[in-house]
Each structure stands twice: as structure tokens, then as C-alpha cells.
């Protein structure tokens, strides 16, 4: 789970694109490189190595993001470096990804990353439309604006509602009941 950037910065599509690009590059590269860490090392040492690897990968990703998204990185602020300490890298690697064989791990990781990207892009699209009346900074003919959706509390509530809606839809189209915990 990487919730805070989605809640705070996922209020415009431009922010979401920058975050999705950074999250995808940092997470994919960090987990793939970290997978070569010897498994026999103590847990704490491995976690430190994973965190250092992701912090190193963050440096060129930030430089690239400043080229592609000038101005946006400043707006995202502290939430940009926080992508490097996301739980997929420092928690899920040991509990999930590195227990799989590499050929199975790579597609699973790709789906996890694609899932995050889809969530932040969809959330940002709807929040930008309803909060500012724009799509990717272009004005649209929106009669009703809900400015609270651009605030952190709006992000919390909207993400919660979207998650509940997704679960309800999933239980409608599949035989399994809506789960209690993700």
C-alpha cells in the first residue's frame, strides 16, 4: 500500500502521471535488483539493502522526472522521495515477491505496479474533474464542483468509497464474497 501520495497529490492527472512514472520505475528496478540479494542474510540487513537500493534508484528517476514533468516535482514535494520507501519494496519483497520463483515474481510485480498506476490515474482523473472542473489542466463544462475533493480529507473519503465500490463490483461479477481485508 502506498496511500499517502494518492490521497495528497492524486488530485490532478498531471501529478498522478508523474507519480505513476516514478513509482513504476523505482519499484520495478528496486525489486528486480534487490532479488539478487543473498537470501541467507539476516532479515534486518536485507531490508536495509533494499532501502538503500531504492534510495539510489530514486536519484536518476528524480532527474528524469524533472525533465519530463518540470514544476510538478516541486508541487509533489516530500511525497516524491516517499515512493522509494513504499511497502512493496521494504515489506512485500520479503513476505511475498522473494518467496516466488523469478519467472512468477516478475508478472506478479508488474500487475501490482499496474494496479497502483490504475488507481492513482483513475482517482486523480475523477478528483480533478469534480474538484477543479478540469481534465489534465484543460477546462471542461462542469456545473457542480466539490472543492473538498482536492483536500486530504476528500482524498481519504473518496479512496475509501472507491475501494468499497470496487469490492462490491468484484463480488457481483465473481463467485467469491467481498473480502474483509485487502
Amino acid at each position: 500500500m502506498v496511500i499517502s501520495p494518492v490521497i495528497i497529490c492524486g488530485d490532478t492527472l498531471r501529478n498522478a502521471e508523474a507519480l505513476a512514472m516514478a513509482f513504476t520505475s523505482i519499484t520495478l528496478l528496486s525489486v528486480l535488483i534487490s532479488s539478487f540479494t543473498p537470501k541467507k542474510l539476516p532479515y534486518a540487513v536485507k531490508i536495509i539493502i533494499y532501502a538503500v537500493i531504492s534510495s539510489l534508484i530514486y536519484i536518476p528517476v528524480r532527474m528524469a522526472a524533472q525533465e519530463f514533468f518540470p514544476g510538478i516535482i516541486t508541487r509533489i514535494g516530500i511525497y516524491f522521495p516517499l515512493l522509494a520507501v513504499n511497502s512493496l519494496i521494504v515489506v512485500q519483497t520479503e513476505t511475498k515477491f522473494f518467496r516466488m520463483k523469478r519467472l512468477k515474481m516478475i508478472p506478479t510485480l508488474l500487475f501490482y505496479v499496474a494496479g497502483f498506476d490504475a488507481v492513482i490515474l483513475i482517482t486523480a482523473f475523477i478528483r480533478e474533474l469534480l474538484a477543479y472542473g478540469t481534465i489534465n489542466n484543460r477546462m471542461v463544462d462542469a456545473d457542480t464542483l466539490i472543492s473538498g475533493l482536492s483536500q486530504p480529507f476528500g482524498g481519504f473519503i473518496f479512496l475509501g468509497l472507491l475501494c468499497g465500490l470496487y469490492r462490491a463490483l468484484r463480488s457481483l461479477f465473481s463467485s467469491e464474497p467481498a473480502t474483509e481485508r485487502e
Partner: protein
């Protein structure tokens, strides 16, 4: 009145409720009230001592190398991580197996790193805050805020996970909406 003002200031400065920092961690730890409160206390240790380390990084890292800030903060938190593991091992070898889980959860997350970056950002805007006392106090304040948010969440945890909540919204979505409502109340106080 003084205490009420302080309480409101603490809520308004709360990093979870105002900046969503540490939301993932609080949900991971929300399995039980005990786990939640212990995690929050260990995070307070990390934010307080981490803030002192962040001061050293901000003070001595030349501004042209500021792209190395995350790496330096990671190194500082890694050192604290090892120190706390060793310290708790020698304090109580019997309880170490239980305690180390909280240290693992608390070390590398948005709550700790976000706090360090927030404190650093405030200090760069206001040079009067560029001293170790301000950094440590802000780190402690963020940790106490995290404990407060953990207590607020734990108060409603069982109800948000009960059968009375529709299955689709039970647990994670209900907790997000709940935090959103508390966050809205705090936002109105500011």
C-alpha cells in the same frame, strides 16, 4: 484553555490526519489495539531520534548535493534500526521476538521518512527552526500525533470491522472513510 489550545495545535499538526503520512503503516498495524499502540510508540522513537540525525544531514550536506538527502536519511534510519534492534535485544532477550516485529514495521515507512522531510522543509523555510532542539521537538510531536491517530483509529477499529458494516466496505474502506471524517474535523479546526 491552554491545554485545549495545545491539543488543537497537536491535532492540526498531526501528520496522518493532515498529510496522510503513515496511513499504510497504521493500517498494517491495525490488527489489534496492542499492536497499533506499540507500533506508534516505536515510530515515535524513530521520528524523534531520526529528526536529530536529519538535522546533522541538513546541517552538513552541501546544498548542491541535496539529491543525496533521501540516501542520507535512509542511512540514518538504517543505523537507528540496527541500534534499536541491538538495544531491545539486550534489554529483554525473552521479549525481543515480539518487540522486533514492531521495529521492522516502524523503520522504513512514510511516517518516519515523511516526518524527516517535513521537518527539513519547515527548517529550510524558516532558518529559526534550523537547530537540533526544534528538529527533535518536531520529531517527538509527530510521533505523539501518530500515537493520537492510532488511539483514534483503535477506538473504532472493532466497529469498522464488525458484521454491521456491509461486507464491501468492511475493514480497509471503512477505516479510510473514518480517517477522512476525522481529517475533515481537524481541517476545520485549523
Amino acid at each position: 484553555m491552554f491545554l485545549v489550545n495545545d491539543f488543537i495545535a497537536l491535532l492540526a499538526a498531526n501528520l496522518i490526519l493532515t498529510q496522510a503520512l503513515g496511513t499504510s503503516t497504521i493500517f498494517i498495524a491495525s490488527g489489534s489495539r496492542r499492536k497499533l499502540v506499540f507500533t506508534a510508540l516505536v515510530i515515535t522513537l524513530f521520528t524523534t531520534f531520526g529528526a536529530a540525525a536529519a538535522y546533522a544531514v541538513d546541517r552538513f550536506l552541501p546544498s548542491q548535493y541535496n539529491y543525496l538527502t533521501l540516501l542520507c536519511y535512509t542511512a540514518a534510519v538504517s543505523a537507528l534500526y540496527v541500534i534499536f534492534l541491538v538495544l531491545f535485544y539486550f534489554i529483554s532477550k525473552e521479549r525481543f521476538q515480539k518487540i522486533r516485529r514492531y521495529i521492522h514495521i516502524s523503520a522504513f515507512n512514510c511516517a518516519v521518512m515523511g516526518t524527516l522531510f517535513t521537518i527539513s522543509g519547515r527548517a529550510s523555510e524558516d532558518p529559526a527552526l534550523m537547530n537540533i532542539g526544534s528538529y527533535v521537538f518536531a520529531g517527538l510531536e509527530a510521533g505523539v500525533g501518530f500515537v493520537l491517530a492510532a488511539l483514534i483509529l483503535s477506538a473504532a477499529f472493532h466497529k469498522l470491522n464488525s458484521a454491521k458494516v456491509p461486507a464491501s466496505f468492511r475493514g480497509f474502506p471503512a477505516m479510510l472513510v473514518y480517517l477522512g471524517i476525522i481529517s475533515m474535523a481537524v481541517w476545520a479546526l485549523k
